[in-house]
Amino acid sequence: MSAGGGGLGTPRALPSSGPRALRDMPHPLAASSSEEAASELTPSPDLLLPRSFADKDLSLPNGTPVDTSSPASSSSLLNRLQLDDDLDGETRDLFVTVDDPKKHICTMETYITYRVTTKTTRAEFDLPEYSVRRRYQDFDWLRNKLEESQPTHLIPPLPEKFVMKGVVDRFSEEFVETRRKALDKFLKRIADHPVLSFNEHFNVFLTAKDLNVYKKQGMALLSKMGESVKYVTGAYKLRSRPLEFAAIGDYLDTFVLKLGTIDRIAQRIIKEELEYLLELREYGPVYSTWGGLEMELAEPLEGVSACIGNCCTALEELSDDMTEDFLPVLREYILYSESMKNVLKKRDQVQAEYEAKLEAVALKKEDRPKLCLLFRRGMALPEVSNSSIILTVTSLEEAGRCEPPKIEVYLLEETKMSRLVGTVFLFWCPEYCTLEWSWLILRTFRWALQKCPVFG
């Protein structure tokens, strides 16, 4: 079957998809970020408990709502942390479920597959319904693909990939069920995501009968691993990290630590409760035995025994609920935080690469052709603002000290990044240092630059 299954072809630019034009994005190295960016980058994302956990009469604060008009803004990175996947039901047109785990035994290995069912009215999908079988590997592939194609988005976490074979039974009902629930949540989050849900890899994942064929068309595993390794490992030498990212980094470190501690405490409580339960189970029947000896006291003693029995049942339920509802949420957020730290690392890497490139460019300016030109400091260049050439000058006074005065020519690109394309050195020539002369020479120079396709 061809890659992507029915009607995908070239990915179209969809109305609500795709990263926003970078011109609209505040430069991370900009000294003053816009107020909007600053407020959205506050280091305290709203953590919400999933609906199922809360009481019906308690209304959980919804925090910052998902901005559907400009969803791809990278400054709304943190909004992706919201667990509130109960969007208004009417706007949802894509429903995904994971269920029906089955064990497959092959010669090489044994593994579990899950049925992924999709119901949708979207045009991007050929059929209204799909049902495919996927294994954990496939989910992992999907996640990596999403990370690659939407590097600025925070992709929801997957349940733990590796389990120690000796310690945990990978095929036990409990383990499989916990995993299934987590995978279900994962897909639902993506399906509800206004940007990620339109990702072509996601589409393929939901629809392709044989995912392996499609997978092979992607990057080779090794190089992909190499890249992800590159992203994950290594600290980058940065001149300085912008304050907000540093703050987020610090926050995340502490946050993950605290969540980890809470997780451990919760587990310890469950353990203690179970031991308490054990003793209670012995305690109750003793009252019954005593009741058997007595006449008048028989009823009250039996009553006590029954009460203790009820307590045992209730305690058991409590421990189960804690394990099923509370712990997974903590673990999820720990995984989320790890994802986010990766994103920050990538950002650091991008910044480092950028800085490296700047340095490289700075070194290259030695090779540019030299022109003689006379100039004077502090001249306004009104025409330049209309064109795409910026000229900066060093003052003649400054120039005298160590190096000759120079004009640096920057080309302002569409990306609003300015590129150094040439440096012009000046000779001091007293008889020509008049404003009029300078203007004329500059204009000539500019005309020459424009005509010459030296920078492209």
Partner: protein
């Protein structure tokens, strides 16, 4: 006054069947309730108020002239009437130590074997869970013992029979020379030897069935209450662990709140509630110790019940031996008189071998035997009466005890339930508060 309910231990008016052996007449069931009711009016506890109000550490020299530390308890007594008249006369008080209480109790046990004598609080701390100290000098232990001793004195004073004992009265009122007074009564000599009692238990043939049942009951009661107390201690231990671990939440929430902006306050107050929760367990378990002490009292009461049963068995055995003795003497007499040998006897053999005795000798022997028989019959009669008296009064007291037990244990269970309810309510309160904090975040 009819017995209000039929209890298995008292229901059977067992008549001793089998041989028409003298000495085991039908046990009469007399309504002791009415008598006990009127006697309550005369109880010491109605006349004076007894409290053990203080405990003090003392050092002194013991019997082997070695230095030792012990605790002394202050007993205060105050006449009840003086209070109703509006006067508040100062109480009489004196100090006693635990060993003196023990002496008093032993005296009562020996002199009133048909009474279920109230037990003392435990000598050493048992059934402790790990936070509870097993040290006799521990202030909590001393405090609980003080309450137990007070309880003991009040129980004795409320008992219609033993409250009238002079030694008991002087225990409460006479500081000096009481020990000598007790020893002078020579009660230690009256005490039955353990060995004798054990022997009787094994060999007795026809004890009153009610006492046998009672003995079984007290054995089982003892075993079930010990088991209960042991498990309860373990349960308390575990519960303590659960509560205390929640205290860790308090710390983590507090640390976490430091890095949060909007959630900071909520987390901080929730953390505070967790600390409150973890701290509440100490009081809860202290209260539960009172419940355990109430159970312990009845654990020790079981021992007192057994003592009464043992006494009965001893008396019964005595009676049986005496009857047996009498029977054999009568038989001997008969044999001598008729000259026939019914059973094989050494006498018969020797007489066969060495010749028979002269008629004078025989007459002499018969006379001696007849005297002995007469004596024996008298003795047997009195023993019989004694035994019957014992059974009657013992059973009266046992019935009284049963009522007391049912009443007390019901109260204990009720207050235990109330304790549990209050504990759960507190827990609910804490968690409701925490939930509010969380929902406000």
């Amino acid at each position: 006054m009819e017995r209000p309910e039929a209890e298995p231990l008292g229901a059977s008016h067992s008549c001793q069947t089998g041989e028409a052996e003298p000495g085991t007449g039908p046990a009469e069931e007399e309504p002791g309730g009415a008598a006990a009711g009127t006697m309550m009016e005369d109880c010491l506890s109605k006349k004076i108020e007894i409290t053990v109000s203080e405990a003090e550490k003392r050092t002194g020299r013991n019997a082997m002239n070695m230095q030792e530390t012990y605790t002394a308890y202050l007993i205060e007594t105050r006449a009840v009437e003086s209070q109703t008249e509006g006067q508040c006369s100062p109480p009489d008080s004196l100090w006693r130590r635990y060993s003196e209480f023990e002496l008093l109790r032993n005296y009562l046990l020996v002199n009133y074997p048909h009474i279920v004598v109230p037990p003392l609080p435990e000598k050493r701390a048992e059934f402790v869970w790990h936070k509870l100290s097993a040290d006799n000098m521990d202030p909590d232990f001393v405090e609980r013992r003080r309450i137990g001793l007070e309880n003991f004195l009040i129980r004795v004073a409320s008992h219609p029979i033993i409250c009238q004992d002079k030694i008991f009265y002087s225990f409460l009122t006479q500081e000096g020379g009481w020990k000598e007074m007790v020893n002078e009564t020579g009660f230690q000599l009256k005490a039955d030897s353990r060995l004798k009692a054990l022997n009787a238990t094994f060999r007795v043939k026809n004890p009153d069935k009610r006492f046998t049942e009672l003995k079984h009951y007290s054995d089982e009661l003892q075993s079930v209450i010990s088991h209960l107390l042991r498990v309860r201690a373990r349960v308390a231990d575990r519960l303590y662990g659960v509560y205390k671990v929640h205290g860790n939440y308090g710390r983590v929430f507090s640390e976490w709140s430091a890095i949060e902006k909007e959630m900071g306050d909520g987390l901080q107050s929730a953390g505070h509630h967790m600390d409150v929760y973890a701290g509440s367990i100490d009081d809860i378990l202290e209260e539960e110790e009172h419940y355990a002490d109430q159970l312990k009292e009845y654990l020790f009461y079981a021992e007192a019940l057994r003592a009464v049963c043992r006494k009965h068995e001893l008396m019964q055995y005595d009676l049986e031996i005496a009857a047996q003795d009498l029977a054999s003497k009568k038989q001997q007499c008969e044999e001598l008189a008729t000259g026939t040998l019914r059973t094989f006897s050494l006498k018969g053999m020797t007489s066969k071998l060495f010749g028979q005795e002269t008629p004078e000798q025989r007459e002499g022997k018969i006379k001696v035997l007849e005297e002995q028989i007469h004596e024996g019959e008298e003795q047997l009669k009195s023993k019989n009466v004694e035994s019957r008296e014992f059974v009657k009064s013992a059973w009266t007291d046992i019935e009284r005890f049963k009522e007391q037990k049912n009443h007390d244990l019901k109260e204990a269970l009720i207050s235990y339930a109330v304790m549990q309810i209050s504990m759960c309510k507190k827990g609910i309160q804490v968690w409701t508060n925490a939930k509010e904090c969380f929902s406000k975040m």
